[in-house]
Amino acid sequence: MAEWIMRQLPALIILVPFTAAPLAYLLGTRFGRPVGFISALLSQPLAVLLAITVMREGTLRYEVGGWGGPLGIDLVADGLTATMVLVTTVVGLFVTIYALGYFGDRERYRFFWPLWLFLWGSLLALFFSGDIFNLYVCLELVSMSAVALVGLTLRREALVAAMRYMLAAILGSLFYLFGVALIYGAFGSVDMQTLREIVRADTTAQAALALMTVGLVLKTALFPLHFWLPPAHSNAPSPVSAVLSALVVKGSFYILVRLWVDVAQPMAFPGVSTVLGILGATAIIWGSLQAFRQERLKMLVAYSTVAQIGYLFLMFPLVTGGGQAATDAWMGGIFHAVSHALAKSAMFLAAGLVLARFGHDRIDGLAGLSRRAPMTAMAFGLAGVTMMGLPPSGGFVAKWLLIRASIEAGQWWWAVIVVTGGLLAAAYVFRVVGPFFSREPEGIDDLDLDPGRSPWAMEGATLALAIGALLLGVLGQPLLDLIMVSAPALVAGVTP
């Protein structure tokens, strides 16, 4: 029996939110909320079980419907997939708890639950996809639900931000699909396992990789194609912003990593990976500077995401050379994605608490917050520690690995960027946190919180995510091991 469950895990994990989503829609707001909560709870042991199984037995493969490739859809779980599933599930749980309080049972937000559960399921399906066409389908599923969630409040700014996001998302997916088509034309398969063995660098294939990269870079909001992210992430309701910054952008990044480091690795130009690294470095600097200049808290956090995404792209130039540098860069990049997910969601949830309590998120109006809302201030500060890459945080471990990889690869300039990025992040974090401690001016009023909201649960969830990011900094070794399970040959220290 236990054996059977383990075999079915990929399907089970995806089915839980996908079953809960239509149920939540059909049952309406009153029962939709408990459905969402139960789905979130059920997902936890399943994700942990997946991680343990993958650690013990290596890559897990599931053939949907028993058909198998090339016509059937295969779900594949290696260390990277299990890691992304785990972080999606954990962040999802705390965002769910927060959302229960944040939205209450108000009718105008009744579509949050079906949409959120659908987004959750689509993300999981994306991480499990075993072929590149299924990745296209999942990308679209994720984007559509995310766009809908951005516009959930039906405020004018939110609608416009959602539209911009949608146009960018569809465009990105089209570029990606074009690439899939060309790859199929060149090699006759979309299955990633098959492609791994037969792919080689010819013109069509490289054009395909270029197209897919452009599309995915647009969807991951890498500078300079990041224009849609700040309005979308700042105008969405805060639990949605948390999920967008923490998880949704990591979805398209995941696909980029799969292509560049794993499947299409022989086609990777060192030149292009350096360009990606330079764009990443520019994103770090530019995003941090822009964050510092913002007046609204959520815009600051959104630009922080633009900057932090830059770190992820430093992975590409460091991985191409293989060797120990590649292993360290791989671990550092993925670990950064995980820590950022925890910390950034905490930051957005904290911003949401500020909005709910004070009715605004103007940074200049937050003096004395440590006295008024200590847990919120603490959560924001602790999340900032990860952004700065300081110990004890997952961000620090990631930074350590990236610095080490740059020195090992002889490309020490990335180390300088990483350290500078940390200092710039400190500038915008302390710009917000410093005034938290100041003598507060008279006359800040608390809004009456909606009686349906339970601030304890919301604050607890926010703080839990921030503390989780810190714990990764000391107890993160098992996760690093998980990331390395069945890692691609280039980074596993295995000569192909």
Binding site: V397, I407, E408, F430, P435, S438, V474
Partner: protein
């Protein structure tokens, strides 16, 4: 887990757990918070003393250690003699400072925040002391930087926020330099643990000389900020905007000693003889010597009492740096002993500053005329500590200066005697006038008849601790020859660090 490793973990964990409890209790349960805080401090003090006993028993080959896997180096603690010396200083003084702080902050706001972050700072300092390798050290070092910030800006005034910004502007880039240095070093030398006498393979001096020199510079940049080495000392006077308990424990003991302790670890237990072969410790020694003179000269010009103490601290810290950078076990012993001696004496002085500020609202030296009449116990303790810093026996400072001087000659650096001599004269120049003013100048009319009849000269929770710490400073000097004195402990340590 044996009792040794339990003591080791407890010493580091207890302050952090205390912090969590303090934050959870919230702002208004003052009595409960004080009890939790004192219990935590007492537990921590006991644990670090037990760890020191374990270290003494296990010296020099079988130190107890415990750790978990992290990256390729590991997050590990170890109870060795050098580490437990610092841990005991921090842990025992925390208990005394907690009593003082409860008294000092009795009318202040945001006490939960204050005592919570204070506990985190102490936990980090003990973690720094008991780290077994550079990664663990770095983790606690940066936690200390972060946790000190809310304490520096505690009063929330624009001046406090500015002081905090200055502090971060020094400390955060230093952390960056330290990070790069540690990562690079671990790349070249592998996952090195602190080892008495140096852990780097001597072969590396020939193969990677250039890299090792740059790494040393980076490490000194990172550690030198907290150690207030010229020109990285600028944050310390600016940080005096913090409340007195912060200045006492953190800026006289925990934070700054973490910096010099780190320098001691790197010079003695990482680089070892390579420091001399590469020429870097000689540069460090000269820089320390310069800082000693520089700090002392600047101190004379300060009228603000705490700023004068700050510059004195800058100078005194470099005694420790100078000691460990010289090639003589006697000098090393002098430097390490001074870590404990200076802590006791300087904390007394900062306690005095706080007590005087709270009781009679005097913040500048020019306002101290006749203070000895109004606050006799306080000024006696201060005077004792002052003559200790100047180096007059039998107070502790004399012992460490003596060892430093002899060691300097032993190391072939006779200029050290000159530096010590000049700085002692300068120390007298900035401390003796205070003593003179307090005892021999005409007091203000309201002070002329001593403390108000029947009432103590100030809040006893502040006065008693400073008397105790002054007494400790005296005892360290008088009993320096005994086996468990800091001086003897330091000499034992130096013997193993410098076996040739």
């Amino acid at each position: 887990m044996t009792w040794e490793t339990t003591a080791l973990v407890a010493g580091v964990a207890a302050p952090f757990l205390t912090a969590v409890l303090i934050f959870a209790l919230g702002e208004h349960r003052h009595a409960a918070r004080s009890r939790v805080n004192l219990a935590g401090a007492a537990l921590t003090g006991t644990a670090v003393l037990a760890a020191a006993a374990a270290a003494l028993a296990g010296a020099p080959d079988a130190y107890p250690s415990v750790g978990i896997a992290l990256l390729d180096i590991g997050f590990s603690l170890r109870a060795d003699m050098l580490g437990t010396l610092f841990a005991v200083v921090a842990g025992v003084l925390w208990l005394i400072t907690t009593v003082y702080a409860i008294g000092y902050m009795s009318h202040a706001s945001d006490r939960a925040r204050f005592f919570g972050f204070f506990s985190v700072c102490v936990g980090s300092a003990i973690g720094i002391a008991l780290s077994a390798n550079l990664l663990t050290f770095f983790i606690f070092y940066e936690i200390l930087t972060l946790a000190t910030y809310p304490l520096v800006i505690h009063s929330g005034t624009p001046a406090a926020l500015k002081g905090g910004r200055t502090y971060l502007t020094y400390a955060l880039p230093a952390g960056g330099a330290l990070a790069v240095g540690v990562v690079w070093l671990n790349l070249i030398a592998g996952p090195v643990e602190f080892t008495a006498g140096g852990s780097l393979d001597p072969v590396l001096a020939s193969t990677h000389a250039g890299s090792l020199i740059v790494i040393f510079a980076l490490l000194m940049l990172g550690l030198g900020v907290k150690a207030a080495l010229f020109p990285l000392h600028g944050w310390l006077p600016a940080a005096m905007v913090a409340p007195a308990p912060v200045s006492s424990l953190l800026h006289a003991v925990a934070v700054v000693k973490a910096g010099v302790f780190g320098i001691a670890r790197v010079v003695l237990e990482v680089y070892g003889p390579l420091g001399r072969d590469l020429g870097v410790t000689q540069v460090l020694a000269v820089l320390a010597g310069f800082t000693i003179i520089f700090g002392s000269v600047r101190a004379i010009a300060q009228d603000d009492f705490k700023k004068r103490l700050a510059f004195s601290t800058i100078a005194q810290l470099s005694y420790i740096t100078l000691g460990v950078a010289l090639a003589s076990p006697i000098a090393i012993a002098g430097g390490i002993a001074h870590l404990a001696h200076h802590a006791a004496m300087k904390i007394t002085m900062f306690f005095t500053a706080g007590a005087v500020a709270e009781e009679v609202k005097a913040y500048r030296v020019s306002e101290f005329d006749g203070l000895g009449k109004r606050m006799p116990l306080t000024m006696t303790a201060f005077s004792l500590a002052a003559i200790g810093i100047v180096g007059v026996p039998p107070v502790a400072g004399f012992t460490s200066k003596w060892l430093l001087g002899v060691g300097g000659v032993d190391a072939g650096a006779g200029w050290v005697i000159a530096v010590l001599g000049i700085s002692s004269v300068l120390n007298a120049a900035y401390f003796f006038p205070i003593i003179h003013r307090a005892w021999f100048r005409t007091p203000k009319p309201e002070w002329a008849h001593g403390p108000a009849s029947g009432k103590p000269e100030g809040d006893m929770r502040m006065i008693v601790p400073l008397v105790i710490t002054a007494a400790i400073g005296l005892a360290m000097g008088v009993f320096a020859g005994m086996d468990l004195s800091p001086a003897s402990w330091a000499q034992a340590i130096a013997g193993w660090e410098f076996p040739w």
